[in-house]
Symmetry: C2
Subunit: 561 residues, 2 copies
């Protein structure tokens, strides 16, 4: 093979990415992307994952970034291939997941002349990327800039706000070649650029404003994804004598005395909700999914402090009185030193007592069902996972069932695509999370989301993962049964537009991809199988599912009295 | 149900669309889109097709537009759902297929505050749409503008350059309601606006320039998709004594004396190619896929006239001497009146003779194979289709095999997504084409494209179509075996990045969706089955396939002497 500038350029990018800590690349096959695809597979210190469907490939890369905090490099050929990355790019943007997207392109002279597989890839992902760059066809004269390009892509994907970066890379024929000598990197082995993470420390003057709020006698911490170190959060909560209403994704739903997991069910008790209206709310990270919680907070008149590590504006209820851009862990540690707390009042004890009653009532209510229910699937799966496991929860019902009914526990990391809350790409995200975490991984998913990303199963058995896919199969869109559409529309119209039964057997779909299926009562066996992929099929009923939720919520209300 | 402005607004849009000739809508389920989804299904004079996967839904809508020339209305909910339309929107843009894309959105106050399922949908498809409009949350005060909005969406999707239009439609709760009285439409039943198709007639002064060129003794017409009426094209060709090198998608590959179908094979004969270098080329519509043809034309030094009905720039080889924006049919008819032609020279006769020899040589070469080959699958399928049928050909090899080896015939319409030449969405495009054409429809597709749009099979058996899917299954990316990557890279690397075997059995995938599979030797039975969907499985081998193509091309070269 002849030495080509394109091959040297691509080998330089890859060398720089490895220096910058990139460990994984995801490649969707194509011709125009050949120089970079070959350069990626030339490196034994990179794992390269091939996927035929760019959409699934992009969510696999997203899952890698979600699990590791490092950007995966994602590559496709020119044309509409690049458009299939769009949803994952938006999710990476909104969920702040680092990702380096590389789209091969035709050179400028082949654009807008009806040449094949050529589309306008310039700023293809609009406002969703941290940086867009088209460096032009590689030229030797610019070799001194190549390492900067690669290192900056990673740096911008990581800080100050993690997210996707888009490099559009045009190549001319010939597409196959050998790299020549690379431009030298930093002799100390560092990447060409690194970014610091930015000003996320807490200024003393800010603490002066915040600390007095934490002395409220009626405060709650709401911990969502990105809430910071659970130890720091609960330490602050204990000092303040405040409960932590903990989304499972926060990492804070652990067996601590300050943990409240059943907040959704508790706040459905009108009396409890009214009696426990907070005066101050410290919101850490993303909001939980619970509408009941969010509306209770919005209607509380409480002074709400919203804390996030980045400049993202997190306030869907328009209720944040104070917005803090700071590292939540650092903030909790700093505040804890300044807080005296609500000790001597029954505030925290009442939350603790209610949490205990709610958890017992949920258990009792679920024991009444012989057949597996959707809430039980979420609760049981979370409890059954081995320590160190990862649980990926799909939108839209699984993440809610887990949030509403998951028992506090240690040692399981809960991940979900809640940047845009889509049901798309979930299987692939779980495959990526399993690859990135190198840990036993479970996916809790509904049948529609499984079908939507059925291609996520493609090649999964050949990847180095331990993945158990628990599919809650109610043959349609289960969440819609909870919405006004279900009660207002005639049943046939509701089924046509929202129920949307499809009749596809998840086990048959899995079998197409060489994935075995186990029944629900073999869940424990499935989770213990080790490397490989398997599906656990839980058949449920959409109408009955609403009744089950009502049952549980009534049981909690009854327990609270 | 209460009367809501949103319901009235949506019912008005739908009423106007029906007036404007819209017959089909494609809806991907969701909640935010409820007002428009309900309004669409309220109309018994609209067909509404539900699809769980927005990507497949969008290509289904594209297929409807491709087959009918009328825009389908395509609807999804807010969030990343809209991003899954992107590839089909780009294809609709570049292939000039009318399409009205409606994305439901959260209202402005829920944007950019981390509200669920809310992403930046403003100009989401960038430069790929003819018109983007976000009219804001429906307000009664603006009811006089609603019909204009709907009618303009259809008008802009149709003329002067057909393509996609994007309406971003924010809705507030409540999402379910009854429409009140609609604002009155035009009393004559017309839509609020219609557009004329624009200045595509041929000016007399332009004819003065073009007509003398057609008197060249050595001219060829190259007819691609969008070439105009085949009768007009061949009438002009006969008068000029020029051959028509006819892409099957042009409709011009019919049994006329001026038809040359085997141009790719003929031009691989260096002597023939050199002896038949044209002086003038009239290119009608899109370029064919054949690289051999396009490079021969580019290297010919011929004066090339590129004709297209719209302002799109069609000239990947940068060789168009004259660019004509005019209706190709009108142009051919007008030119025919002004041409005297190359009569008395052997030019056309030599092309005709070579075409006859090539077709016979292809037949003979294919008869040598016991097992079905990929060229034979394309040739046989095209020949076997009943009159009135539609054939959808996938990128990347099927469209080429059809172009290179399809025998001229009448009565079959050949469609393909060659705007961006992707292998994406092809199954769904065929489903849409079958729905739109109401005709027996066949799809010729490779295994990778089938897998890529496996979700196109979702619900297909429940739709009112007669569709035979012929899958040429070589367990991987067959076209790459023809590229330099195959000869230069080590075999294991080639297989990893390009060959990419997947091991999925297309018949098993089809069975998941209730679709039966027949062997290749039952093709005729399959095509005669009538309403329903079936798959015909043709197992081939990637390496052998290259040899088969070489064989055929050598046979044609030998026949020419």
């Amino acid at each position: 093979m002849p030495v080509t500038t394109a091959a040297t350029f691509c080998a330089t990018l890859v060398d720089e990415w490895v220096r910058a800590g990139v460990t994984d690349a995801v490649v969707a096959p194509g011709s125009r992307s050949t120089p970079l695809a070959v350069a990626l597979t030339d490196r034994p210190d990179l794992r390269v994952h091939i996927h035929h469907d760019e959409r699934s490939a992009s969510f696999l890369a997203l899952g890698l970034g979600l699990a590791t905090g490092r950007p995966a490099v994602l590559l496709c050929t020119s044309g509409t291939a690049a458009a299939h990355f769009h949803a994952a790019v938006i999710e990476a943007h909104q969920a702040e997941v680092p990702l380096v997207v590389c789209t091969a392109d035709r050179p400028p002279e082949l654009r807008d002349v009806s040449a094949p597989q050529t589309v306008d890839q310039d700023h293809l992902y609009g406002t969703a990327v941290r940086w867009f760059c088209d460096p032009g066809v590689p030229e030797e004269a610019l070799r001194a800039t190549w390492r900067s390009l690669a290192a900056r892509a990673v740096a911008d994907a990581l800080a100050p706000r993690p997210g996707p970066v888009h490099l559009n890379l045009p190549f001319r024929d010939p597409l196959v070649g050998e790299p020549g000598a690379l431009p030298p990197g930093r002799p100390d082995g560092w990447p060409w650029h690194v970014s610091t993470t930015g000003p996320t420390h807490v200024a003393a003057s800010d603490l002066d404003v915040l600390a007095p709020l934490l002395d409220s006698q009626r405060g709650v911490i709401v911990a969502g994804a990105g809430a910071g170190d659970p130890l720091a959060v609960h330490w602050l909560a204990a000092t303040a004598s405040w409960p932590v209403l903990a989304d499972p994704r926060s990492g804070c739903r652990v067996p601590e005395p300050t943990t409240v997991g059943a907040f959704d069910a508790l706040l459905r008790h009108a009396g409890f909700a009214a009696d426990h209206t907070p005066g101050v709310v410290l919101r850490l990270g993303q909001p939980p999914a619970s509408k009941v919680l969010n509306q209770w907070l919005a209607g509380s008149g409480a002074r709400q402090v919203q804390v996030g590590a980045t400049a993202a504006w997190i306030d869907p209820e328009h209720s944040a009185a104070v917005r803090v851009v700071a590292d939540p862990t650092e903030l909790c540690i700093a505040l804890e030193k300044r807080v005296t707390g609500a000790k001597g009042t029954p505030w925290l004890a009442r939350w603790q007592h209610a949490e205990g009653q709610a958890q017992a009532a949920i258990d009792a209510a679920l024991r009444a069902y012989q057949e597996p229910t959707e809430p039980a699937a979420a609760r049981t799966l979370l409890a059954a996972l081995p320590t160190g496991a990862v649980l990926v929860a799909s939108s839209s019902m699984p993440i809610r069932d887990l949030e509403w009914y998951g028992t506090p526990r240690d040692g399981v990391r809960v991940l979900a695509n809640r940047g845009a809350n889509g049901i798309d790409g979930v299987v692939s995200t779980a495959v990526g999370a399993a690859l990135g975490s190198n840990a036993p991984t479970a996916l809790l998913i509904g049948d529609i989301a499984l079908l939507h990303d059925g291609n996520g199963l493609l090649g999964a058995v050949g990847r180095d993962i331990d993945l158990t896919i628990v599919v809650v199969d109610n043959d349609g869109g289960g969440i819609f049964s909870f919405l006004p559409q279900a009660s207002v529309l005639p049943n046939d119209r509701f089924e046509q537009l929202f129920g949307t039964p499809h009749g596809v057997d998840p086990a048959a779909l899995a079998a197409v991809h060489g994935i075995p299926t186990l029944p629900w009562d073999e869940l424990t066996d499935a989770l213990a199988k080790g490397p490989g992929v398997r599906l656990v099929h839980v058949r449920t009923d959409r109408a009955a599912n609403v009744a089950v939720h009502d049952d549980i919520n009534r049981a909690v209300i009854a327990a609270l009295g």
